[in-house]
Subunit: 216 residues, 2 copies
């Protein structure tokens, strides 16, 4: 049964997982406007996705709509937030308190979505003992002892690119299970480790390129 | 000729555009180690992409490798940085100085990649006249006059989700050509407008889901 469920979770395509937060944002908007039901057609129109795709995406979460009425909005919000992991807190460490790392430690609004950054680490001695937004910064050599204390499962990587692989290996050895990689470096990890890449620079490059081609 | 070039740029597949910054990061690393040449095989091995794919990706930029020696690293870095738009500054306005917006206005390191955020806008009167990291914050009603002054082409959207579409329309009318959308809302734009979505929440959702399925 547990195994069945596991397979169930694994089968969810990444594009579905990326669309679900859009649906969530939209139905929360509707709720704010006082609506109580939403149809997959309504969602489809707003998000610019096929309505059969919306229904298919929502079939992965534990909710069923009523014919001609659609989904109950409150229930849909609860189920989506829960399904997406936004309702439980996931402890994270941040590695590399440079410009990007420090900005992420500011109140970024990510804790509302289940990400609880409990500490930052850096190689620079002078940062140890300071804090940003109440989040303590430690020297990287204290990672093993702090990991014992906090038991973080997520590592946010904002170190300089030439340190990305080294830090990755160090923190996986220390028990981190998932890496949120903000560097433009393709880190290599064992199969059982989750990696999510968010390369701002790559997004910028795509945007600049599209802009240039529009203007020619 | 101009038209030819335009088509050339348009033909670049998005996956190629997303991989080029990885190659750039890697060859910069090699340069730091004192290397002068790099082969597509070396890049392929490091990035975990097929070596023929690397050669194909690099065929879009104006550089050719030498048989058995590969690409000259300095030339490759220059060509890639230039091609990706990182060497010229693109003026941007940021809309919505909440937690995420304020964090992005901190020194985020994006100006090294060609993004020059020249002002922030918010609806809250009390923010007007303040600044973050030297970047002035104005009331949103001053956008048209500030747009005349600065001539920004990129709008970074960090407003609350329920304002995303309204602000989008307002700033496109004011002359913004490209939108970097950080909200989880799917904004709708005319065809000639560039949109780049960076949804941190969606990335978090994918990561949480993979983590959960690993742990079951």
């Amino acid at each position: 049964m547990e195994n069945e469920e596991m397979k169930q979770i694994w089968k969810i395509p990444k594009p579905t997982l990326r669309r679900l937060p859009w649906y969530l944002a939209f139905v929360k908007l509707l709720k704010g406007k006082g609506e109580t039901f939403v149809s997959s057609t309504q969602i489809a129109k707003e998000i610019n996705v096929d309505s059969s795709q919306v229904a298919k995406d929502l079939s992965f979460v534990n909710i069923s709509g009523k014919t001609r009425i659609g989904y109950e909005i409150n229930a849909l919000i609860n189920v989506l937030e829960d399904f997406l992991g936004f309702t439980s807190q996931h402890k994270a460490f941040l590695f590399g308190v440079g410009s990007l790392g420090a900005a992420l430690l500011q109140d970024f609004g990510l804790n509302q979505y289940g990400l609880d950054i409990v500490a930052g680490f850096d190689i620079r001695e002078e940062l140890a003992g300071t804090n940003i937004n109440g989040i303590p910064i430690y020297h990287i050599q204290d990672f093993p002892s702090k990991q014992k204390e906090f038991g973080a499962i997520i590592g946010i990587i904002t170190v300089p690119v030439e340190k990305a692989q080294e830090v990755t290996e160090q923190i996986i050895n220390g028990g981190i299970k998932a890496l949120w990689n903000f560097t433009p470096f393709r880190i290599r990890v064992p199969e059982h480790i989750v990696v999510q890449n968010t390369s701002m620079y790559a997004h910028l490059a795509v945007m600049f390129n599209r802009l240039n081609s529009m203007n020619h």
